[in-house]
């Protein structure tokens, strides 16, 4: 292993390459373009190809093709491009193509502010495409985590055969930090589950019962797999029957749920005896942690829960962290998306927590507030949290 000084755009690129990235298809969009540029030079040196498509729609559809043809594939984008990719993400989910999309979040909606931070894509990451499907999304909070979770995103993608969204932000993208790059032997790399039967026995959408994930035949191996965007049976043939539709879409959702323990991730800070539990992701969590430490210094029992997997959410760890809290405060640069998620989790687990009040500290700003500014925001709302 070796230590390098990288920003999270570079760290994600390095992590992806460590995981075996084969194809990058992208389109320039601030603040992700330099990841694309970095890979356009580095990836060919490691035997992979980088392609600039005509738009983000072409990018995401090319990734599905590349994935089904046997390459670990990814792209990086930001809000406007992410929105364009929504149909393609649904396509990837429907044909169960593993791939990684990095959303380097910026201030939105629409063109917004290209060069400044946003955190408004949390719901969109999972719910942005139409219909019934599921996927996995991670939100690292440092360049090291960006490296580690680029690898874990690919692992997740191949474990459950979904697109995986890695959500960083405009601040992380260009903040250089120490990153320890692991040697190949130190990493767990998950690839596809190869078919165990002969081509005439193979059914492209027949899941293994233990994980609900079908073994994946690549193009060119003689299995003649069908990638079918219409609702399909196990053979990939278009079928409109109620039972077949239900079986398919339920499985697309459940295959992530049944593998949840291998997918969730989060971190808690000072939570064992926290009375006020703050919740934030990404760069915001870093500033918030400084505030939590300061409050602790003043004798206030503050703690923080930081989700790393957004979807599926690590609700068990959250419930454990919130067990003794009387107040939960979500702090995010949007209108309250973590807030909506946690309201639901708290209700579902109301017999496991001590009836906390949840506060939505929505700060729709295009810059990170300092710890003092977060405190000022709390005070300006007249909340008596301690």
């Amino acid at each position: 292993m070796k230590a390098e000084f990288l920003n999270s755009n570079q760290a994600v690129a390095e992590g992806a390459m460590a995981a075996g990235l084969g194809v990058y298809v992208g389109y320039p969009i601030t603040p992700s373009s330099d990841m694309f540029e970095y890979l356009s030079e580095e990836l060919p040196k490691r035997g992979g190809s980088v392609f600039q498509a005509e738009d983000e729609i072409a990018s995401i559809n090319a990734l599905v093709g590349a994935s089904l043809a046997g390459a670990k594939s990814m792209t990086a984008t930001s809000g406007p491009g992410f929105s364009l990719m929504m149909e393609g993400i649904g396509f990837a989910a429907m044909v169960e193509a593993p791939l990684m999309i990095v959303d380097v979040m910026r201030a939105g909606p629409s063109t917004g502010i290209a060069t400044q931070i946003g955190q408004g894509d949390i719901y969109q990451a999972k719910w942005g495409s139409h219909g019934v499907y599921n996927l996995v999304a991670y939100a690292p909070a440092s360049a090291q985590e960006a490296y580690d979770y680029a690898i874990k995103s690919f692992n997740a993608a191949y474990r459950v055969r979904t697109p995986v969204v890695l959500m960083t932000d405009a601040v992380l993208a260009h903040t250089r930090e120490r990153v320890v790059l692991r040697d190949p032997g130190e990493l767990e790399i998950v690839g596809r589950k190869a078919p165990k039967v002969a081509p005439d026995q193979y059914r492209p959408y027949r899941p293994d019962p233990e994980d609900l994930v079908p073994p994946m035949a690549f193009y060119g191996e003689g299995y003649h797999p069908i990638a079918e965007s219409l609702t399909h049976d196990e053979r990939g043939y278009y079928k409109t029957d109620d039972e077949i539709y239900r079986a398919l879409v339920s499985r697309l959702v459940r295959k992530v749920e049944v593998n949840k323990s291998k997918l969730v991730a989060s971190k808690s800070y000072y939570a064992e005896d926290a009375d006020v539990l703050f919740v934030a992701i990404g760069s915001m969590a870093r500033n918030l942690l400084a505030l939590v430490r300061e409050l602790r210094g003043r004798g206030i029992k503050a703690g923080m829960f930081r989700p790393i997997s957004l979807w599926p959410f690590d609700d068990e760890s959250f419930v454990a962290a919130a067990a003794r809290a009387s107040k939960i405060v979500t702090v995010e640069l949007n209108q309250g998306q973590l807030y909506q998620i946690l309201k639901g989790i708290l209700w579902d687990n109301r017999n496991k927590v001590s009836n906390p009040t949840i506060y939505n500290l929505d700060m729709p700003l295009p810059t990170l507030p300092t710890p003092d500014e977060i405190l000022g925001e709390i005070e300006s709302r007249g909340w008596k949290l301690w």
Binding site: G22, V23, V25, P44, K45, G47, S49, F51, A53, E54, D55, I57, A58, S59, N61, A62, L63, V64, G65, A66, S67, L68, A69, G70, A71, S73, E87, G88, F91, V95, F218, Y219, G220, G222, Y223, H224, P225, I226, A227, E228, S229, L230, Y237, Y238
Partner: protein, 288 residues
């Protein structure tokens, strides 16, 4: 009446998912005619030892023509509307030994997919695109297509089409990829010959195949009988050599120029990329 011991099956059955036949296309639909000739081309090249059908990735979009991926026994993809071409790009980038074939309709490729069509042609990207043109949006019931002739009825232009159609082949011709041709289902043997040639070339190869949709387009122009529409199409297609884009016509009322308009051997996208970026191993397995 005699009971057969062994049924002779259609000579192309080996390349089809026969459990899904009869296919869903209407009586007299030209898509089946175009597909048949594509499969003959594959079969003949296969038997000549020049093509491995296991390397074909047959990608279609949405529409009646897009349903073709359900009937062929290759590696296939039924992609979102307009996106078969970028899908094929990804396939080729991942595994340069694969042979992407895009087989889709005029609405799918030239309307929503138009941007992808243009750029793939511009890049001379390694793929064969067959655009079956029936001048309507058949599957969804007969809405206007970018290829629908002026003043013709469609369900979204009930007082007649106020627009002029695009000649997609002329557009691609002007971008100048390696192979540009327009064929017609009324001249099936020429489709086969052209596909055979194109499958062995490199770079971006484009074959538009004019087709009949008697049930919808035919009905809209009062020619619902399959043979009547077929004859009408046969009258308007003219096979010519062209010297420039001006020679290529697309006029349902006078002439739709057909033939092989461009045939050259410029380096393909993958050749250029793989050699410029030192990807020698992939260059070694690159196939047309």
């Amino acid at each position: 009446m005699v009971m057969l011991e062994e049924k002779p099956s259609h000579p192309l059955d080996a390349y089809m998912r026969t459990d899904r036949l009869p296919h869903i296309w209407c009586p007299g639909c030209g898509i089946g005619i175009a597909l048949q000739q594509f499969l003959w081309a594959v079969k003949e090249l296969h038997e000549e030892g020049k093509l491995d059908p296991n390397k074909i990735v047959f990608a279609t979009g949405i529409g009646c023509t897009g349903r073709a991926s359900g009937f062929v026994k290759f590696d296939t993809a039924h992609t979102p509307h307009g996106r078969a071409i970028p899908f094929a790009v990804g396939v080729k980038l991942a595994n340069p030994s694969l042979i992407p074939v895009v087989f889709s309709g005029d609405g799918d490729i030239a309307s929503i997919g138009g941007n992808h069509m243009m750029h793939a042609a511009r890049r001379n990207f390694d793929m064969l695109v067959i655009m079956v043109n029936n001048m309507t949006y058949g599957l969804t019931g007969g809405q206007l297509a970018p290829t629908t002739p002026h003043s013709v009825y469609s369900t979204t232009t009930p007082m007649g089409n106020p627009e002029s159609p695009i000649d997609a082949t002329k557009v691609v011709y002007s971008i100048s990829p390696n192979f540009v041709a327009r064929m017609s289902i009324t001249h099936p043997n020429l489709i086969r010959d052209t596909v055979k040639k194109a499958l062995l070339m490199k770079g971006f190869r484009w074959i538009e195949v004019l087709s009949t949709c008697p049930e919808i387009f035919g009905r809209h122009i009062n020619m619902r009988d399959p043979y009547e529409l077929y004859s009408r199409l046969k009258k308007v297609v003219k096979f010519k050599k062209v010297a420039s884009a001006n020679d290529i016509k697309y006029d349902w009322n006078s002439e739709i120029t057909c033939g092989v308009f461009t045939e050259k051997n410029d380096p393909s996208y993958m050749e250029n990329y793989l050699s410029m970026y030192g990807l020698k191993e992939k260059l070694g397995v690159l196939s047309p």
